[in-house]
């Protein structure tokens, strides 16, 4: 179980770190666009709630991981 997760984790870290360039603040106008945010948006909140009730998996999206409701 942990082997697969470790492989995914390491691959993601390698991909993220290998291709990075330093971006100055004044070059971040596109990165700072609200739709570029690296999180689920508030308008998605209740979608994520019903998915956590109707599906077995949850978490790793900044939202619920279980607990707080009668869901899984």
């Amino acid at each position: 179980m942990f082997k697969k997760q470790t492989a995914i984790l390491m691959l993601s870290l390698v991909l993220m770190s290998s291709a990075c360039v330093t971006v100055k603040e004044y070059q971040k106008n596109k990165l700072n666009d609200a739709e570029m945010a690296l999180s689920s948006r508030r308008v998605e909140k209740n979608e994520m709630n019903f998915q956590s009730y109707k599906e077995g998996a949850a978490g790793a999206n900044g939202g619920k991981t279980g607990g707080g409701c009668g869901c899984n």
Binding site: M1, K4, Q5, I8, L9, S12, L13, L15, M16, S17, A19, C20, V21, T22, V23, Q27, K28, K30, L31, D33, A34, E35, M36, A37, L38, S39, R41, R42, V43, E44, K45, N46, E47, N49, F50, Q51, Y53, K54, E55, G56, A57, A58, G59, A60, N61, G62, T65, G66, G67, G68, C69, G70, C71, N72
Partner: protein, 442 residues
């Protein structure tokens, strides 16, 4: 000349000292700002679903044979839910220049569920429910060194379920666009032991040993909910009115996130959660119809460990198009493995207006404890017929619209508005629709 030079140096130092004092005072005045309301967010949703595998009726249509009659309970999962949430964001600066952010939220959901009335086999239970959930979060950020620390608390109340949560998080931003975050949270939930009220279930039903001192008695809730209490029936005796007892369900989560700016157009994030749950992880009003026709209530282990790993990559593909992508791998020690992949393509009609088609695919294997109606053997230790634990896949797609003009919508404090519709279909025959609205006021 020497005297003049010394005088000039002395004056220079005096001025320098004087200006530096002034600058320092000015800096403090500038940086120290009391908390001020910066943003208000309002989110409203309407959700509607239908299906035929309700866990309340044992995962399908069931016939309950009581001593006086036979009740046919259809497995309808018809449900509507209206959810409203308000969140206030306050920002202030301390004397040392640290930025303080407070998020205060309040949510209210109200649902109507067809299956809920069949907690009582006669259909007399209330099909409605309301959940109220306030939250409070505080974060202090040192903008000089890129570190932050925060604390949060959350409370949720509904008729049969209460939850209290605490969390703490730390974060660090480096100079190369990397951001590391670590968060721990603990949910302390209480599940009210509202059991189905069927004569046959009463006869065959044995409560888990953990529920002492109620081992040999059955709790029937007050269908009208007028008193908030219940009735306890002992085996051969009369009845006594008491509060419905609860059992704890605790959830502890450690979350690690790392995000990185890849270049001027691409950024990515890795999200890892480690979740440990213990306590009463079943729901007491979920029936299970065994292969010999007897009825029991869902019984699941008292511990569960979950590991979800997520990866996000957002790419500003052209002047008009953004690609938002997400993948999650999930596994737990109940044997469930799941994959989630989603893509959203916000297209900018103007720089301040966009439409966003999206699609999400989800697939999962069944847990070790799931079987459909009438399949579980009476000898099994753990069993559920809740289809959230079955093997299935789902599709979720829809469209969003967002506008955020720089001077506000119609020059008002309404700075952004977003509307989003999605249709969800699961291979278990469950279908649902959700529409959400989000307003930001500044």
């Amino acid at each position: 000349m020497k005297k003049l030079s010394l005088t000039l140096i002395g004056l220079y130092l005096l001025f320098l000292h004087g200006f530096s004092q002034t600058a320092k005072q000015y800096e403090n005045i500038f940086l120290s700002k009391p908390l001020k309301l910066e943003e208000v967010n309002l989110v409203s949703s309407y959700y509607s679903q239908n299906g035929s595998h309700s866990a309340v009726t044992g995962g399908g249509t069931s016939i309950l044979h009581s001593s006086t009659k036979n009740d046919t309970l259809n497995g309808s999962e018809r449900l509507t839910d209206i959810a409203n949430m308000i969140e206030l964001k306050l920002v202030g600066y301390g004397e040392t220049g640290n930025k303080h952010t407070i998020l205060a939220g309040l949510g209210i959901d109200h649902h109507t569920a067809a299956s809920q009335k069949y907690i009582s086999s006669s259909g007399a239970s209330s099909p409605n429910g309301t959940r109220v959930y306030p939250s409070l979060n505080w974060t202090v950020e040192n903008t000089d060194n890129g570190t932050e620390f925060g604390l949060g608390t959350y409370y949720s109340h509904e008729y049969n379920y209460n939850s209290f949560a605490l969390d703490a998080h730390v974060g660090y931003k480096n100079k190369t666009g990397g951001e590391l975050g670590f968060k721990v949270s603990a949910y302390f939930d209480k599940v009210k032991l509202i059991y189905p009220t069927d004569d046959t279930l009463t006869a065959h039903f044995v409560l888990p040993n953990t529920i002492t001192p109620y081992d040999d008695i059955v709790i029937k809730t007050n269908a009208s909910r007028s008193s908030g209490g219940g009735y306890v029936y002992s085996g051969g005796g009369g009845s006594e009115s008491v509060e419905v007892p609860s059992l704890p369900r605790n959830t502890y989560t450690a979350s690690l996130t790392y995000s990185q700016v890849i270049n001027k157009l691409v950024q990515a994030a890795l999200l890892l959660d480690l979740v440990k749950q213990d306590g009463y992880l079943s729901l007491p009003f979920h029936r299970v119809i065994m292969n010999n026709g007897t009825e029991k209530i869902e019984t699941l282990p008292s511990s569960r460990t979950k590991i979800p790993i997520g990866f996000r990559l957002n790419y500003f593909a052209s002047d008009d198009l953004i690609v938002r992508s997400y993948y999650r791998y999930y596994t737990d020690d109940w044997g469930l493995t799941a994959h989630t992949a989603s893509i959203e393509l916000p297209y900018k009609i103007t720089p301040f207006m966009s439409i966003s088609p999206f699609y999400r695919y989800y697939t999962q294997s069944a847990t070790k404890y799931f079987a459909p109606i009438g399949v579980h053997a009476a000898t099994e230790q753990y069993f559920t017929s809740n289809y959230a634990s079955s093997a299935f896949n789902s599709h979720f797609f829809g469209l969003g619209f967002r506008t955020a003009p720089p001077d506000g919508i119609a020059n008002t404090h309404l700075s952004a508005m977003e509307i989003r519709y999605g249709h969800y279909s699961q291979s278990t025959d469950l279908n649902s629709n959700v529409i959400s609205l989000h307003f930001t006021l500044k």
